[in-house]
Amino acid sequence: MMAPRLLIVAYGNPLRTDDGVAWRAAAVLQKKFPSEQAEILTLHQLGPELAENASRSECVIFVDAAAGPGRPGEIQVKELSSGEDTESSALCHAISPSHVLALAAQLYHCRPRAYSTTVVGENFNHGESLSPSVEAALPALLGRIEELSTQR
């Protein structure tokens, strides 16, 4: 069976309010994309193992939430390159999307098209629901991800 051409990596902590937006988006995307077309992962954090998943994909979309900068609910999309600087990271809990892509290039000689889609959140306290601004941004987030998945 051929590997799906699209990889969506939704990461964050679903027990920390807006940090769970990526998981919420992933649950909807699971119904929109058949498994032959897209591999959708829900993770707490990124790890080096993702380089293998990325190496089998034509397009990788990372989805997460961030505290800013920007207004709550704003969706920030950035095209990623595997050649981005990976040495400027400080102490962190996990590797970044750029690190994943760099490993995919270094170990698997693959450079998929890649994007990060980040929702600016307003509440990262304990909780399982999204704040109103992020909840309202969910349809637009899903729309952006679907747009990115069809770009060449």
Partner: protein, 476 residues
């Protein structure tokens, strides 16, 4: 302590969790004392009070993102005691499979991601390179093997438990769902590659040891006792058995101890400078009752692994010293042998004719008000001890975490390394990396995964009693 200077390493990098190390110098500028401080506070023993006992496995799994399965197992076993049930044989085997998969991925993380940068690039390498990227650059095959081996363990956990981190599959009385034939066959398909990776990594590691003779002789190379759970035939086990303690000569100090009676022979001491408790063997008192747990200890207390290739490697390992193998540097070697054992044992269990049985859970209400569960986590022996009331609500919890057993030994190891490598009034990254590296040998799990990639926020100053900065090491 004399009025000297203090070197602080904060944070300690490439370990799980948050900690710092302080090195206290005397007036002559030589290391006089060292402390390994765990700076994070979790409070799980208190926040569980009042919760229904059956929530405990899921709650306890959240202690850690690297070894949640061990907490699931120990917690579920404590709950089994509260229910007073014997779980179905298939559930026993499935829990073991889950645990073996976790040990494999956890050991792979420790060896390949956290420690291999030092082993491959050297202790004095540029800190910007001592990470998985530096390994990938120098030896792509090694980095690839690490990723594949970690994935092998993680995928088993995901198949059985539904997700890689904090899976909720292990429950009081057994497991929540049987193993399917599809999942069993998929896991078996991955065994040959995983075995091959374990074998070649062992050969690679054995080939590097010659370069680290100085580290081997100074990294926690001192006599202590060793403790671990063993099977009835004194074989390695991660799930169930009796506790065995041997001394530095390899002679048995205590055997056949019931893990549920741990408080009869394990004492816990709180130190004011760390959130990590120190345990000790009560008959010897504190601190003479120092012992080590984890891979090095398990291979010191066990007579066999019980699988072909791991037994061959264990025999070779035991030849490293006529006594127990003492240097904590050899934790890396022991970890690799355990990976080999885990994969071989997984194959045995998956080929068991009962493994697909649908009978995987015993159902009961609480029949006891106190329960203890013990297992071998990747880092060592783990105890969960619960007391409940008549409504089944938690009233008291005590957790004795693997890393706590090693606290005394880790502190002594840091002192030994610092005394040997930190000299004079100049600090070098290599000196400080060795102090951190000895901690990495123990692969401590300080309940939170923290990885520094290359540059990390780290400043160490050597300050004279007069306040003059004698030397400074700054990273990023």
């Amino acid at each position: 302590m004399s009025q000297g200077k203090t070197i602080v390493i904060d944070p300690v990098t490439r370990i799980e969790g948050h900690s710092k190390i302080t090195l206290h110098l005397n007036e002559d500028g030589r290391v006089e004392d060292a402390r390994f401080h765990v700076t994070q506070f979790r409070g799980f023993e208190k926040l569980c009070e009042g919760r229904p006992f059956y929530e405990m496995p899921s709650l306890m799994a959240r202690i850690c993102g690297i070894c949640p399965v061990s907490h699931l197992i120990a917690s579920a076993k404590a709950c089994d005691s509260l229910l007073a049930v014997k779980i179905p044989p298939t559930a026993d085997k499935l829990r073991r499979i889950f645990g073996l998969a976790q040990v494999t991925q956890s050991h792979a993380l420790s060896l390949f991601y956290l420690s291999s940068p030092d082993l491959l690039l050297g202790m004095d390498a540029d800190p910007a390179k001592t990470n998985i990227f530096g390994v990938a650059e120098r030896n792509p095959a090694l980095a690839l093997d690490g990723i594949k081996l970690r994935q092998f363990g993680q995928k088993i956990i995901e198949r059985l438990g539904g997700k890689r981190i904090h899976p909720a599959w292990i429950v009081p009385g057994g497991v929540s769902a049987p193993l399917t034939e599809v999942d069993r066959d998929a896991i078996l398909e991955g065994i040959p590659d995983a075995l091959a990776i374990a074998e070649r990594t062992l050969e690679w590691f054995k080939g590097t040891m010659e370069r680290f003779r100085e580290e081997i002789s100074t990294f926690g190379n001192f006599p202590t006792m060793f403790m671990g759970i063993v099977k009835d035939d004194n074989g390695v086990t991660f799930y169930d058995g009796k506790l065995r303690i041997v001394d530095a000569s390899g002679h048995v100090v205590a055997d056949g101890l019931d893990p549920t009676k741990y408080s009869d022979y394990i004492g816990e001491k709180v130190e004011p400078w760390s959130y990590l408790k120190s345990t000790y063997y009560k008959p010897k008192g504190f601190p003479e009752g120092v012992y080590r747990v984890g891979p090095l200890a398990r291979l010191n207390v066990a007579d066999r692994c019980g699988t072909d290739r791991a037994d061959q490697e264990l025999a070779e390992f035991h030849e490293l010293q006529r006594t127990a193998v003492l240097s904590s540097f050899h934790y890396h070697h022991a970890r690799l042998i355990e990976i080999l054992y885990c994969i071989e044992r997984l194959e045995q269990l998956l080929n068991d004719p009962e493994i697909l049985s649908k009978h995987v859970r015993a159902i009961a209400h609480p029949n006891a008000l106190e329960g203890v569960g013990a297992c071998e986590a990747p880092r060592g022996t783990l105890f969960h001890h619960y007391k409940i009331d008549e409504q089944g609500l938690i009233r008291w919890v005590n957790l004795v975490i693997a890393t706590g057993h090693n606290n005394l030994a880790m502190n002594r190891s840091v002192l030994q390394v610092a005394k040997h490598f930190v000299q004079g009034k100049r600090l070098s990254p290599g000196m400080l990396n060795r102090v951190e590296a000895v901690i990495r040998c123990y692969d401590p799990c300080l309940s939170c995964s923290t990885h520094a990639l290359g540059q990390m926020d780290l400043q160490i100053q050597l300050i004279s009693p007069q306040g003059e900065v004698l030397d400074e090491v700054t990273r990023n």
